[in-house]
Structures are given as structure tokens and as C-alpha cells.
Symmetry: C2
Subunit: 365 residues, 2 copies
């Protein structure tokens, strides 16, 4: 356990949660569950019992101030700022390279900043199993037991049990599979061998880097160069020069899939509830605290009046919002942009953002 | 025709058009049709070919500045400001008393400031017939030929033709009837004897005052006292003392209905289109100018993005509004209040306003 170091990639703009989540204030900086804590802060607090202060955050340069305000305990050397987004391969790869240089025995665990998990204790038990399994020389993904045949997630096909002390639920991974059709997803559920790929994994940094070097030598070399300078005065200079030249690739393709093919990946299924807050319908599900009639209201100081209405209101203003005779509506009210849609169409918000971008209305994105 | 003097009562808050129309900025101060002209200004312009500058406006003291800005040609003596609302009996009665004192032969025509009429020419022809008929000693209502069995309007039952030069369509009025049920309204339509009561009438001021004196002697006396002081330096002083003491009664009960019972009321049916802009569904009907897909957009500088949506958006802000997958929606976006409802429920906005009032949220009313 004392080899463990948590990594929190805090990236992405959460386009499907526009106009609440946007480039300047992405999803992880918001309290989307009405818990009183942002997703980033909740992620940190969930890892603290496992990692103590051994937590590294990777985020965009633009979010430095907001992240530091939310995580005042974060040390400067543990905050990796991307001058431009380079996908998860570079983000997580750099974390691995930095940690490896500090201590090649570190087992890293990567947990995105914008997910909702409960209860924390079940999560921590699962991560502990993953750490024990990783210590045996595995890249360990934490899969989520499917509750329905989702077509929105990739799946992990698990194989035989692994015999690991302290990790009774660890299995080998046969393969990662892409988002399936509903019929295929239904079959996956029936076999019992498939779990959702939640993008969480725990692995020895040395093993991560070994696969990265084998599959993405150019990316590996660049990351090693930055890592060598990281805990020195040359950090900013070298990062500014090398980072923009790195190839963009997801960690799944750069490491996880080739490692699985090589038999180096295990899975520990998580039985905690997990939600990636993919759209505003999720926000309705995740918030039960403040209901005005059948309307879930999110936002401090929200002034919502409803009559014969249901749905979700996210209020980021002090305006009075009156809903009359409208069902399953989703309303997101921010100072410069208003979204009105339905729970059913919540997934299509991304299309609206793309259209606004195309029309040049980028001031509200 | 040179006896004619137009009166424009500009009252009411247009509660069913909240939050666009509100106490501080009622319906008549807005351009609700996308014509580029407010309802008040359009009403004035429609009457100008008939009345020239002989136009008197009755409105609330709070609207003095807005009304003067919209009607810069209005003389001070032709602007009647109510310190508190006293219903149409006092408002129109005072106009009659003031005009009668200037010239007892005046024929007044009263036309509310918040109605949409077109084409102007047909309206003007109808008013001319009404003036000729009024000159024969009648209070002449202008009825609207019903286009459907509306349950939202009172009806006027017409009787025999009147033989008036220049007014071939003038009929006697048998009675006024209250808003009917749908079945009753359907029967009215089938007889062909009923027209909608649009609250427009043309009458000799002397005849108006005769019936007012007979039916509402207290109101009559108070109005006479104010009128006697009107075109003198004592106007403000006397008005401030007397107006608050006047009884509240609608002009229908104070004058029109008793006069009809006495055989003194005629009707000229109008064939122009007429809409009292009773709710936001009406705004959808009345605006065809700017459509974004199937969404009618009202408001200068509106930035509306739609995908698979229909309905009405009234934008009183510069915010981006995105509608996705929502049908027949009504959205009214103002700086301090947002309404989201459907065309079908548009009539229930009044209930929301009542509830806000009850809850103490009066800052947005």
C-alpha cells in the first residue's frame, strides 16, 4: 500500500453538460450532485485514505487557479499543467514518467476527476484489491458491474481468476471491446463475464512505461525528457518545448489494449455505484436532495416555481425560473447561455455545442 | 368626422404575458408582433388618420416617461395619469368628462392600447361607420366577427339593421353576454347574430355621461369635479384629492350594459383581424417574421440555436438560447426571470404570477 500514488486526470470540457460545463469551467470544477463538493474535490477526498498526500493532478493550464483553490493541499510539483490538450496517453504517461523517476517501485492509480462514486468505502476496498494485484506485475483495470445493457460504455471481458493474496476478485482480462449495440450489450450481460470500462486503472509505473515504450516510442521519449527535468529548475522550459510536439493518443490504445494482448492486464470488478455524469439526465438521477414538486433543482440560491412540471433545473443565476405544464424538461440557466431540452434529448447537447462552434458563437462555449 | 376624438386606455399589466409584460413594463409598451412598433404606438398610428392629433391617453402614473417617449407628439393636457388603477369606468369616464367640457359635441372612440389589428384600412372604415352611427345618438360598439367559438371573450348579440347614412353595417344591440361555454359559443356562431366584444366603442361624450350619471352618480360627480379643473392650474391638486375616492367599476357595467337595455347601443361588426394578445401562444401566431426552423423568435439581438424544436422564444437578453428536441415550447427570457411552458399551457401563466405574488417574489412581477 505504501507504494501507491494516486493520479487524477482532470481534463475534458464535458461538452454534453453545456452550458454549465464549458471550456473555462469544465465539469470537474462543478458540484453536480448537490453534495456541497465539486467532482474534483470529491475524487481527491475519496483517494486520500488510500494515498494520503501522494496525489498528482494533471489538468489544463487554464484551470490552475481553480484547481489550486479546490485542492489547497496539492504541492506544486504534483500539479501537471498541460499547455494544450494531448489526450490521455500523454497526460497519464507523463504522470507515470514523473513518478517513476521519483521512485521506480511506485504503483500508480489513475482516476478521472469527473466521476461520481459511492460509497467511498466500497471503492477503496476495490482499489486495495487492485493495488495488491498490480504488485504482482499487472496493469489492473477497475471494471464496473453493469446494471443495464449500456451502449455508452466500452466493456472489459474478464477471463480466469487470478490467485492474488488480498485480491479475491481479481481476474485476467481477455480483451477490451468497444461500445456495443444494445443486442450485443444484452448478451454481454447474460454471460456475466463483461464489466464496464470506467477508465480507472492501477499499475506499476515501470510496467506502464514498458508498454508505452514498446507501443509509442516517440511519445515515450518525449515524456522521459520532460520527466527528467520535472523536479529540477528546468521543468517549465523543457515542458514548454517538448509538450507541443507529443502525439495525441488515448491511453487505451497506447498502453491498455496492447498490454492486454500481451497478457499483462487484470480486472477487479467494482460493486460501488459509478456514474460518469454523461448528461443532464444523469444530474437528475444523482440529485435527490432538493426537489420542488417533481423538479430536481441544482444551484445555490435557485428560485424555481413549478406548476405541473417535472425534470431538472440547473440554476447558475439568481433569476426566478417558472415552469408551467412541461414534463421531463432539462433547463440549464447560466448568466450568458440558456439550454432547454428534455431528459430524452440530453445526449444531444454535444451537437448544439458543435453547431455553436461552427456558427462562431464561441464566447459561450 | 371632425367631432371625433380618440381615447386610448393604456392599462393592465398583461399578467398572462409575464415575465415579458410586468407591472413596470406592461404589455402595451412592448413590440409583441415583431413589427418594430410597440402596441401603444401602433394603436396611436392606426387612429391618427381618423383623429389627427385629437388623441387622449389614459395610463398609470408609473408609465408617464415610457408613454411620452413612445408618443412624443402627445400634449400634456391629453395625457391622463392615474395615481392608482380605478378600472375602466373611471378611466374612460374621466376622458369623456374632460372632452365634454372642451366641446360637448365631441364623439369619443375608445381603443385599448394592447390590441393587434390589421389591416389598418379596414379598421378605419369600420370606425368611420361607427362615428356616423354615433352621430345619430348611439353608443356604438365595434364587434369582431368570430372566427371560432372562443370561450375567452364576451359576445354582443345584434338585432335589426339601423338605417344610417354612411354606416351600412350598423345594427341595434339586443344585449351583451358573458363569456360562454364552448357549446354555447358554437350556437352563437351558427346564428350569425353574435360578434365578439372587443371593448372598442364610439359614442357622443354627452350620451356616455348621461348614462354614467344615471347609473353611477357618485363616480359621475367625482369625474365632473376633476374634469372642471382639468384644463386649469388646479388639475393636479383636484385630481390627487378626488381620484383615490372614486369607485372601481368596469365601463361595461357603468355604461354599456344599462345603455343597451335602454336601446341606446348599436354595433358595427369589424371584418379586420383582431387579437388581444392574450398569451404567448398568440405571440407565436402573430409573428411570422423571424423563424429559426420552427421556432418563432421575438427580440432584438436574440441568439437562438434550435435542433428539432418548435414553439416561441421571446428574448429580452443577449444570452444564447439553445433548444434541443422540445416541441411547442414557450420560452420567455428576461434579465431577472425565465418562463418555460408550452403553447397549450400558455393561459396558465397568470397562475404562476399569482403564486409568485403569494410567495413574496414580487421583485420580478
Amino acid at each position: 500500500m505504501n507504494r501507491f500514488f494516486a493520479v487524477i486526470p482532470a481534463g475534458g470540457t464535458g461538452t454534453r453538460l453545456w452550458p454549465l460545463s464549458r471550456a473555462a469551467a469544465p465539469k470537474f470544477l462543478h458540484d453536480l450532485t448537490g453534495s456541497g463538493s465539486t467532482l474534483l474535490r470529491s475524487t481527491y477526498d475519496r483517494l486520500e485514505p488510500l494515498a494520503g498526500s501522494r496525489v498528482l493532478v494533471v489538468t489544463g493550464e487554464a484551470h490552475r487557479t481553480a484547481v489550486c483553490r479546490q485542492l489547497p493541499e496539492l504541492r506544486d510539483a504534483d500539479l501537471v499543467l498541460e499547455s494544450e490538450p494531448k489526450d490521455s496517453g500523454a497526460a497519464i504517461g507523463l504522470a507515470a514518467a514523473i513518478l517513476h523517476r521519483r521512485d521506480p517501485d511506485i504503483i500508480m492509480g489513475s482516476f478521472a476527476a469527473d466521476q461520481v462514486i459511492s460509497p467511498d468505502q466500497l471503492f477503496q476496498e476495490t482499489v486495495r484489491e487492485a493495488i495488491y494485484t498490480a504488485a504482482q506485475g499487472k496493469i489492473v483495470t477497475i471494471g464496473i458491474k453493469p446494471t443495464h445493457p449500456s451502449t455508452g460504455f466500452g466493456y472489459i471481458r474478464s477471463g480466469g481468476e487470478l490467485d492474488v493474496d488480498g485480491a479475491p476478485n481479481a481476474h485476467a482480462v481477455v480483451e477490451f471491446v468497444e461500445k456495443p449495440s444494445e443486442e450485443v450489450a444484452q448478451k454481454y450481460l447474460e454471460t456475466g463475464d463483461y464489466v464496464w470500462n470506467a477508465g480507472m486503472f492501477v499499475a506499476p509505473v515501470s510496467l506502464m512505461l514498458k508498454h508505452l515504450e514498446a507501443n509509442q516510442p516517440e511519445l515515450f521519449a518525449g515524456l522521459q525528457e520532460i520527466a527528467a527535468a520535472w523536479d529540477t529548475p528546468r521543468r517549465a522550459h523543457v515542458t514548454a518545448r517538448v509538450w507541443p510536439t507529443l502525439p495525441k493518443i488515448a491511453i487505451d490504445y497506447a498502453v491498455a489494449e496492447p498490454a492486454a494482448a500481451a497478457g499483462d492486464v487484470a480486472v477487479v470488478p467494482g460493486t460501488f455505484t459509478w456514474d460518469d455524469v454523461g448528461d443532464f439526465a444523469a444530474i437528475g438521477r444523482l440529485n435527490s436532495a432538493k426537489e420542488v414538486d417533481e423538479v430536481t433543482v441544482l444551484g445555490e440560491g435557485a428560485r424555481v416555481f413549478t406548476e405541473n412540471a417535472s425534470g431538472v433545473v440547473v440554476s447558475d443565476t439568481k433569476r426566478v425560473i417558472a415552469l408551467i405544464g412541461i414534463k421531463d424538461v432539462v433547463i440549464v440557466d447560466t448568466p450568458d447561455a440558456l439550454l432547454v431540452t428534455t431528459k430524452q434529448h440530453a445526449q444531444r447537447v454535444k451537437g448544439a455545442v458543435d453547431a455553436l462552434k461552427a456558427s462562431g458563437d464561441t464566447d459561450v462555449l
